[in-house]
Amino acid sequence: MGIITHIGRYFLLLKETFSSPERLSIYWRRTLEEMDLLGVKSVGIVALLSFFMGAVITIQTKTNIDSPLIQAWVVGFAARQSTILEFSPTIIALILAGKVGSNIAAEIGSMRVKEQIDALDIMGVNSAGYLILPKIVASMLINPFLVMVSMFLSIFGGYVAGTATGIISSTDYLQGIQTNFIPYHVTYALIKTVVFAFIIATVSAYQGYYTQGGTREVGISSTKAVVYSNVVILITNYALTQLLLI
């Protein structure tokens, strides 16, 4: 099947997904469940990854700009900027594409091969809306929270690594993370996060929804969900950066 067909079918699925829900209360309850499953249960991995990501950024920045001409606080400044602008929104999105995206594709794909989606359709339930819409809404609501946690822990990880190893003083690091702070950069990061959340949920759901075959195909759909989500995230990241920052 050609890429144009896939794109067309993806948008038709989105149209189905956003058509009016049968019972709003049930959709809302499912959205809360998905927020727990896709978001709250990802806090651990996001926290761990962000802390060490910040630590590595700080150490590498210090190693690469170790010059008497550059002030010490620049390390904190660089750690904050790279965390807020790129690492937290984009790297966390790529990680979530792996964790959450594969989960979405595998869950919906299994439902497809076990005829559970057919069962929903025959009952008269809009299966695309019932299964996918709560995941989209949940991801778009919870992912900005995850990225905020990531930003904080990454900068904190840089602080801990920098001061513990003695490569930067506490005062210099704190001065660096406060210097030339532009609040819009956080807004920019959160806009990216919401767009990436939409991409992860919809691309993965698309792969799962059109799974054909058995368990092997569910695995293939799951892998495709991660790969295609990552590709679309990286392309969109470039487009959004050009649109929002320049």
Binding site: E22, R23, I26, S110, M111, K114, E115, Q116, D118, A119, D121, I122, M123, G124, V125
Partner: protein, 254 residues
């Protein structure tokens, strides 16, 4: 009553169904029989709207299903109950939640009324004290019974059963067959059973349609089936020695 008129379906270049016309009667167990790959499941899926046929019509009480708008189609679908080959129970929901699911989506009843209705349906299929178990914790036969309970939760006018006996031992198969027959009589549903289980055909089949190579080859009653001279039908029905003995015992012919 459901009527199929001149229905044809193909996937890519493969013609799966060709010009099928048949009538499925109310209050009867109508059976679609045929070899694996003959197209009987595709016919059922066209009838419930999971596949769109290239040609032909499916009429529910005279109204063409595939010509309906979304609202009308949803209304008809709420009158359809379906038991799937693999039961298709929702893994993440308990037995009670599975049976309550269609009620929660479409009924305006209170939660306690929905629970009462779900318990009535579960009692009807003889499932007791399993409310909080998940489908994975049930045997194949129990899953089928819960599937039937879910299918009848909305008081369907049409009941579709796709290979209800597959994967079940002979005793459990008879229990499921009897249940389908009883429910058909009790609720006066138009029941369509897709099967290649000959015990099931002899036990419950009232209006039998034989599909071969994507075409309707034969239609008749159980008695007509035993006395038919149709070569392909006889080859299919009497492939096993047990059925040949049954035929001899019932008709005196081998």
């Amino acid at each position: 009553m459901i009527e199929v008129q001149g229905l044809s379906k193909r996937f890519g270049t493969t013609q799966v169904l060709t010009d099928i016309s048949a009538v499925f009667h109310k209050g009867q167990v109508n059976q679609i029989i045929g070899k694996s790959g003959s197209g009987k499941s595709v016919l059922a899926k066209c009838m419930v709207g999971l596949h769109v046929p290239e040609e032909g019509k499916v009429l529910y009480e005279g109204n063409s299903f595939h010509d309906m708008d979304r609202v009308e189609m949803t209304k008809i679908r709420q009158e359809i109950g379906m038991l799937f080959q693999g039961s298709a129970l929702f893994d993440s929901l308990t037995v009670l939640q599975n049976v309550m699911f269609p009620l929660q989506m479409f009924s305006k009843a209170s939660k306690s009324e929905m629970e009462d209705r779900a318990h009535t349906c579960l009692d009807r299929v003889d499932i007791k004290d399993k409310d909080n178990l998940y489908p994975a914790e049930l045997s194949g036969g129990m899953q089928k019974r819960v599937g039937i309970a879910r299918a009848i939760a909305m008081n369907p006018k049409y009941l579709f059963c796709d290979e209800p006996n597959s994967g079940l031992d002979p005793q459990t198969s008879i229990v499921i067959d009897d249940l389908i027959k009883e429910i058909t009589m009790e609720f006066n549903t138009t029941t369509i059973v897709i099967t290649h289980d000959m015990n099931s055909v002899m036990e419950t089949g009232e209006n039998i349609i034989f599909i071969n190579e994507g075409r309707k080859w034969w239609q008749g009653t159980r008695d007509e089936l035993l006395n038919s001279d149709n070569k392909e039908l006889n080859e299919f029905i009497f492939a096993g020695s047990l059925m040949r003995h049954v035929k001899k015992a019932m008709t005196g012919r081998s």
